[in-house]
């Protein structure tokens, strides 16, 4: 998979990296801010069995779980981009 360290390769690698960055920041903004702006309507929904109001739950646990999962996914995706362009470190 290793490609030569050409200017095109480098630019392509960086534009993919940038796109990945914006995707993750988008998810981050949604779960860090946007969803909590709707806490009042969300609190009217109660999670069955557990009894949490949904708006409260998202701020206390939901968004946190998303962040953790997101970081593991990001580490894998960025590594794939690096490998594809031959910029990954040796294992």
């Amino acid at each position: 998979m290793t490609r030569p360290d050409s200017k095109e390769n480098q630019e392509e690698h960086w534009s993919k990296t940038t796109r990945l960055m914006f995707t993750h920041l988008g998810v981050w903004i949604f779960f860090g801010y946007v969803i909590h702006m709707f806490v009042v309507p969300l609190n009217k929904i109660v999670i069955p069995i557990l009894d949490f109001p949904l708006g409260f739950y998202m701020a206390a646990q939901g968004s946190l779980i998303v962040f953790v999962v997101m970081l593991f996914v990001f580490a894998r995706q960025q590594d794939e981009i690096d490998r594809e362009h031959g910029y990954a470190e040796e294992d």
């Binding site: 920041l25 909590h36 806490v39 009042v40 557990l50 949490f52 946190l64 953790v68 580490a75």
Partner: protein, 658 residues
């Protein structure tokens, strides 16, 4: 000295799992041993001492065993800490006394609004991984100012970065040593000032001889103690009350019960509509602007705090730096998503077993805290039934049962008192104290190291004496560490008050000073030296001005800078009557105490001063952008370096002489 050959060190890394596994087993066995000692009648005070001294001794032994005389070991632990373990160390580095002791209390008091801190102190790791951390690892710096100096042409940028680093880390470390003092004085009955300096010795033993290497391996040990200590009481409580040992799932039931009880209290006159703050109702303590402001400032601050960023300098590769950020957040998450459970269980206990009870029938667990003045009933410390009854009799028309407005609890008590509320043996209380101490010590270690490294590496070695020999550099680093530590302890001993606000300030300062320059330096090749320096000074300057002015010169802020009173989030009314306050003789007083009528209560746009980063960081970005465009484009060489930082493969950009 302890210079390992590479063969011995890879053995060391391979054996980490067994070593820390044995350690965890040993710690659990130690708890069981103390539980048995408690059953045969060893007094509580001795158990408390054993807990604290045993754990401190373990940290000190690790600190001494991992001492080093190698520069790269001292500054970046030899860059071979595996992602998983670095994640654990970062977790301990991150979670401070404010998280361990203070967070659950804040959630107890503020309900939903307190979750701003939970969100803010977790989501920032997304920014660390996506925007900054792995790139700094590839760059190969020892300190954050190292990067600034290289990317932005020399010692002016380095100096500004050092000032930002010292300002935010020192504010933060003072709060930690303060926390250490509170825990030690409460559980060991030491005098507060003495406890502060005792805690300091513990910190120094860990950090002084081995630098980053020693701090890394002790922080892992500290993480294990603190997470066991934090989770044990609520797991037992959850099992007792709901039959399921996962408090994070069962506290939803507690919240439902709290909400029902709130309505009942209002209906029976135990609480007034003005005094009751429903647990799940948003934006009654913070306005939406301040709520989201805190989230943003804490998140961005996370990605700018040097003691956190430098943890990712220690991984063996850029790939592992990214994985390590994910592990860090996982280990932090374990504590943060449990904190609201503490708050909910405590609140339910207070609402059902204290509020509404006859004065003579309240639960006795609160008297121990009442004696310390941390729980008050009817305006007086709740030291005994007689004291409560006497205090409430003095209030005209008191019904003889505890009402919500009669009851005041200090937020620090929530976590520390949970074992007693649940009727658990004292050994669990001692465990919680040891956990709190581990949290405060580990954060203080990381912060002190960040400050001392910046002073010894950036100021002394890079600016004063670039030819200094290794031994001399390490000696300077150690001496500076001790000096900074003693300075921080001396500041803490003056009790600057309110840990949460001080920690918040540190985040905002880091955000305003570092974030724009770090992000632009990596993501925008066109950013120039002049632009970055101007941006850092402008952003940091505005933030610190807003902070210092609203806290220490509120009169000046109102008179000359058009500041107005902050507003009450529920009623929308001003917190202070500015006209009346300005007419007081002390209106223009400088450096007043928190008792000053306007201190921390004035500002622009109703913006709490914890959120001063919200003013500073956008200005920093703007200034860097505008000044850079007016300036000459950075050299082709510098742009090539930036390309190099963006590719994980290959050598680090900066190669340190060791």
């Amino acid at each position: 000295m302890a210079t390992n050959t590479s063969g011995a060190s890879s053995d060391f890394i391979r054996n980490l799992g067994r070593m820390y596994g044995t350690y965890t087993g040993g710690f659990l066995a130690f708890i069981v041993l103390l539980a048995i000692m408690e059953m045969v009648g060893v007094p509580n005070k001795i158990l408390g001492y054993l807990f604290v001294f045993f754990t401190l001794a373990v940290y000190a032994i690790i600190g001494v065993m991992t001492r080093t005389a190698e520069i790269s070991e001292y500054y970046v632990a030899g860059r071979r800490v595996p992602a998983f373990y670095n994640g654990m160390a970062t977790g301990a580095d991150w979670m401070s006394a404010a998280s361990f002791v203070g967070m659950a209390g804040t959630l107890f008091l503020l309900g939903y609004d307190g979750l701003a801190w939970v969100l803010g102190w977790t989501g920032g790791y997304v920014l660390v991984s996506v925007l900054i951390g792995p790139y700094l690892r590839k760059f190969g710096a020892y300190t954050v100012p190292d990067f600034m100096a290289f990317r932005f042409g020399g010692n002016v940028a380095r100096m500004v970065a050092v000032i930002v680093l010292v300002a935010c880390s020192f504010t933060y470390v003072t709060a930690q040593i303060f926390g250490t003092g509170i825990i030690a004085s409460r559980f060991l009955g030491m005098q507060f000032e003495l406890a502060v300096f005792a805690g300091l010795v513990g910190i120094l033993l860990c950090a002084m001889l081995g630098g980053m290497r020693a701090v890394t391996w002790t922080q892992i040990a500290q993480y294990i103690v603190l997470i066991i200590a934090y989770l044990t009481p609520i797991i037992i409580l959850s099992t007792k009350n709901y039959g399921i040992p996962i408090p994070e799932l069962t506290y939803g039931k507690a919240i439902a019960a709290i909400t029902a009880r709130e309505q009942e209290m209002l209906a029976t006159g135990l609480a007034t509509a003005a005094g009751l703050k429903p647990h799940t109702q948003p934006f009654i303590n913070y306005s939406p602007l301040n709520f989201f402001g805190i989230i943003l400032c804490m998140m961005v601050g996370t990605a700018s705090l040097p003691h956190i960023l430098m943890r990712y300098f220690t991984t063996p590769s850029v790939r592992e730096a990214r994985q390590s950020v994910a592990w860090s957040l996982f280990f932090i998450f374990l504590l943060y998503f449990s904190a609201p459970a503490y708050a909910a269980f405590s609140k339910l206990e207070v609402y059902t077993n204290i509020i509404g009870r006859d004065l003579t029938a309240v639960r006795p667990w609160m008297f121990a805290w009442g004696e310390l003045g941390l729980i008050q009933v009817c305006g007086k410390p709740a030291a005994s039934i007689d004291a409560i009854v006497a205090a409430c009799k003095a209030i005209a028309g008191h019904p003889g049962v505890v009402r919500l407005q009669d009851f005041v609890i200090n937020t620090d008590v929530i976590v520390l008192s949970t074992p007693e509320i649940a009727g658990l043996p004292y050994v669990i209380s001692g465990l919680v104290a040891a956990g709190g101490l581990a949290a405060a010590l580990s954060t203080a270690d990381g912060l002190l190291l960040a400050i001392a490294n910046a002073l010894s590496h950036d100021i002394y070695y890079k600016m004063i004496d670039p030819n200094a020999a290794t031994i001399r550099r390490l000696t300077v680093a150690r001496v500076l560490l001790v000096i900074v530590a003693v300075g921080a302890a001396a500041t803490a001993a003056t009790r600057p008050s309110d840990i949460l606000a001080m920690v918040g300030w540190a985040f905002s300062l880091a955000m305003a000073g570092n974030f724009p320059a770090l992000v632009m330096g990596i993501w925008w090749k066109r950013a120039t030296t002049k632009g970055a320096i101007a941006g850092m000074i402008a952003g940091f300057g505005l933030c610190i001005f807003y902070l210092v002015c609203t806290r220490y010169f509120p009169g000046v802020g109102v008179k000359y800078f058009g500041m107005t009173s902050l507003l009450n989030a529920t009623t929308g009314l001003p917190l202070v009557d500015i006209k009346a306050a300005m007419a007081l003789p002390n209106a223009m007083e400088s450096w007043p105490t928190l008792a000053h009528p306007m201190a921390n209560k004035v500002g622009w746009f109703n913006l709490n001063n914890i959120n001063c980063g919200l003013l500073g960081a956008p200005l920093g970005f703007l200034v860097i952008y505008v000044v850079s465009l007016m300036d000459k484009e950075p050299s082709a060489e510098m742009q090539a370096y930036v390309d190099e930082i963006r590719k994980p493969r290959g050598r680090t950009v900066l190669e340190e002489r060791t």
